[in-house]
């Protein structure tokens, strides 16, 4: 996950010292494509939702950058904020409206004669499984990094990943599957 840490540090310092817009924009443009991709994969590929999540994540990050201690890379830290923003986005949406065609509505219980592709299957995984699987198998984060992002032990991340993969295989291959296993959010 090399994103030019020394350069990130200089830019963060410049931004936090003077709230410099130019420094912020360099950071924003450097990291937003990956963050938007992560948000899109977590939110089932809905671009509007992904943009809302990324915007919220940047607002939180900008307010907290002064307290960032560099015990991970900036990209890892920002990814954690995206994951948290996504979780809150899901919670808010559950409060506001029932899922209509979202990842956890009737999809899991639907007759699986319908062929579902990998992306849709990932989107149908329970929240906790989806986060670990996307972060590890798609984004390429290590279990240590995922532990920091999700606030769990690396061993928990590893066991969650194994269960997430099993759930994904069932979704893709077993027509009678009605529900994947829980997954800790």
């Amino acid at each position: 996950m090399d994103t030019g840490e020394a350069s990130d540090r200089r830019l963060v310092e410049e931004y936090t010292r003077r709230l410099d817009e130019a420094a912020f924009l360099v950071l924003y443009r450097r990291h937003t494509p990956a963050l938007l991709g992560l948000a899109a994969r977590l939110s089932g590929g809905v671009r509007r939702d992904a943009e809302e999540i990324v915007q919220e994540a940047w607002l939180r990050a900008a307010g907290s950058l002064v307290a960032f201690r560099w015990d991970s890379s900036l990209r890892t830290w920002l990814s954690g904020i995206v994951v948290n923003s996504w979780r809150e986005f899901l919670r808010a949406r559950r409060r506001d409206v029932a899922w209509e065609d979202g990842p956890e509505a009737g999809a899991l219980g639907a007759p699986a004669a319908q062929r579902i592709d990998l992306e849709r299957a990932v989107a149908r995984l329970p929240e906790g499984f989806r986060a670990v699987l996307v972060l590890h198998d798609v984004e390429g984060f290590t279990h240590n990094e995922i532990g920091r992002i999700l606030g769990m032990e690396p061993g928990t991340s590893k066991s969650q990943l194994a269960r997430a993969r099993q759930a994904l295989r069932r979704l893709l291959g077993s027509p009678g599957t009605t529900r994947a296993e829980g997954g800790q959010g």
């Binding site: 709230l19 410099d20 924009l25 938007l36 990324v54 607002l59 307010g63 990998l118 798609v138 984004e139």
Partner: protein, 187 residues
């Protein structure tokens, strides 16, 4: 993908890796983020050379106009306004977890950084951290309460919505605190 084994097959690994296609962020997202950051006082545009070399006479004229506006605004009996002509609001910072001394020092810097941004955007009037405890006088003084306010900021905002937007950017909310936003009333 038809095994129950924990490890991915090479085909599965390739399929999942292929999902990693990062979309290009839209210009509207960038503008939206910058607008929201500016509203919360979290970004400040770099001064341009043109602005640095504004003729001194023009600056004097602007200062005089602002001064006149402030005097006129102060003469009216309506919501008190800052020299920039905006209504003022008080953000009462209540509660929040008790941090360690080290954490508190870090948070003070965090709050200061936010306040600097709000000030740079022309919205901050004043702010103070309050010591614990409160002394009550007057009728009902024996009742408890009133010491939940840890500090306050006085800000200037165009309207209630902007005041709330600024308040939402305050780091106090991230540390489990509450913020009560009150508009300063006409006297």
């Amino acid at each position: 993908m038809n095994t129950e084994d924990e490890e991915l097959t090479s085909g599965e690994r390739d399929s999942l890796a292929a999902l990693r296609q990062d979309p290009a962020p839209s210009d509207s997202l960038e503008r939206s983020v910058l607008r929201a950051l500016a509203a919360r006082g979290l970004v400040r545009a770099r001064r341009t050379a043109t602005r640095r070399w504004l003729p001194p006479l023009l600056l004097l004229a602007c200062g005089a106009a602002l001064f006149a506006a402030g005097v006129l605004a102060g003469a009216r009996t309506e919501t008190p306004r800052t020299p920039s002509g905006l209504p003022r609001y008080v953000l009462f910072l209540e509660g929040s977890e008790e941090p360690s001394l080290e954490e508190e020092a870090r948070r003070v810097q965090e709050y200061k950084s936010w306040a600097r941004g709000v000030a740079a955007a022309g919205h901050l009037v004043s702010g103070e951290k309050l010591s614990p405890g409160a002394t009550r006088i007057g009728e009902g003084a024996e009742l408890s309460g009133g010491d939940s306010v840890r500090g306050f900021f006085v800000i200037a905002a165009a309207d209630d919505a902007q005041a709330l937007e600024i308040a939402r950017g305050c780091p106090h909310l991230r540390h489990g605190g509450r913020i009560v936003v009150r508009k300063i009333a006409p006297v």
